[in-house]
Amino acid sequence: MTMVEGAMPSESLTVEQAIANLNQTDDPSLRYYAAWWLGRFRVSQPAAIAALVTALDDEADRSPDGGYPLRRNAARALGKLQDPSVGLALIQCLDCPDYYVREAAAQALGDLGDRTCIEALQAKLVGGVEAAVPVPGKPHLVEPYGAILETLGMLKATTAIAAIRPFLRHSVPAVQNSAARALYQLTGEEQYAEQLVTVLQSPTLQLRRSALMDLGAVGYLPAAEAIAATLAENSLKLIALKGLLDQHLTAPEGQPPVLSDRVIAVMDLMDELL
């Protein structure tokens, strides 16, 4: 996603510099920035991948709460770079003591489309909603359930349906959203997507934003009008509507895309939001 306003790097690097910065150990902030930069600019050459995988085991860069900032950035970057060889290294990150590394790894495995992680992700759901409680003193639950559920949905892990369903009633609304999104992807049943459409009326802006992204990600075309009408930034609505259309547009070899009346109607909604 490149829709962030003014997201150009403040310091420009070359590919060689970025990889060198990631491989040095004297300056943690240079390593941290280089890991982000390699993902942002989609540098997928083997030397970059190798440096990022090495960074997943970093012990030097520690945050005050014991987290691993460099590992987080490296995992996020590897999700963007689409190199299939890094699946095992990311699966190992699912057991990292840092919650945010586990979250980044779960998301990256979804981006990667690596189905070998399904078993490890499903293991995180054992104990169900009862075990999915907050960590005392932290702003998060014991596991990154949102990322886990969404990745299981993206990976078409139909074996996880029964384990996911109870999370529709988790006390955290964002987790409910993730469960509904995954269940729609896994079952194709509209009731789950309609639950996300209902969230577009939530009084909480952050939940409306997350439902926009979820509906775009699952490509639920009947949500188009509700997306255009929800109270949120036009930029996010446009991304969501693009997500809907991306999954319904096809272009025959060497031909322009096929335009159905429904596709045209959604583009008309988008024109109004520009």
Partner: protein
Amino acid sequence: MVIETGSIQERIRAVEAADSALALVQAVRSLAMAKDPAAIPTLITVLGFNNPGAAVMAVDGLVGLGAAAVPALLEQIDGYNYGARAWAIRALALIGDLRALEILVDTARGDFALSVRRAAAKGLGALRWQDMASGEIAPAQASVQAALLMASADPEWVVRYAAVVGLAGLATALGANIPESDNGGTLVTCAASTLAVANPEASITTCLEALQQRAIADEEILVRARAQRAIDLLTVG
């Protein structure tokens, strides 16, 4: 609910007195619905409040007032508040007043915020050319076309999408005959074809070529689809 009545002074005071984000949105909505030019300075002030909901309502109100709001909006552009400037450009893009032509061209070509480039690109396709002296139209349309061609190659898909919409609007404004499409379709001639433009056929051809380039080669299938939609509308088959 805020009752949508009251004198313009009462509505302005309600905006000034709003003590929460939601109350502000409702007061601005009420002020915008009054459609009174006396509301313009207050609506423009709201653009600088960093309250997106209120800013959307204020833009709606300013767009509803049209040409009357343009001088004050152009003054706002010169201010230092970046957020307010972006909203003001958005309002100018939606009004389509030719006094905003220069700022829209500059914005579409180079603003760092993609949401502002996007609004400007769309706005360039919807300028009210009928208000311009005929001798000035050709060079102005040339600069609009150059800005839109640049925007159509923007790194951000949404700016390219908006540029497609803008190019289609410009081609329609240029209006003259469009070459027959491959399937033997007839030509679109629109009301604006009486405009005195140096070489409208060449300009339309340039717009259509840019649209065809997007329809065939854009990396995003959605931009390809929107460009194809524009071509379909411009060439009646």
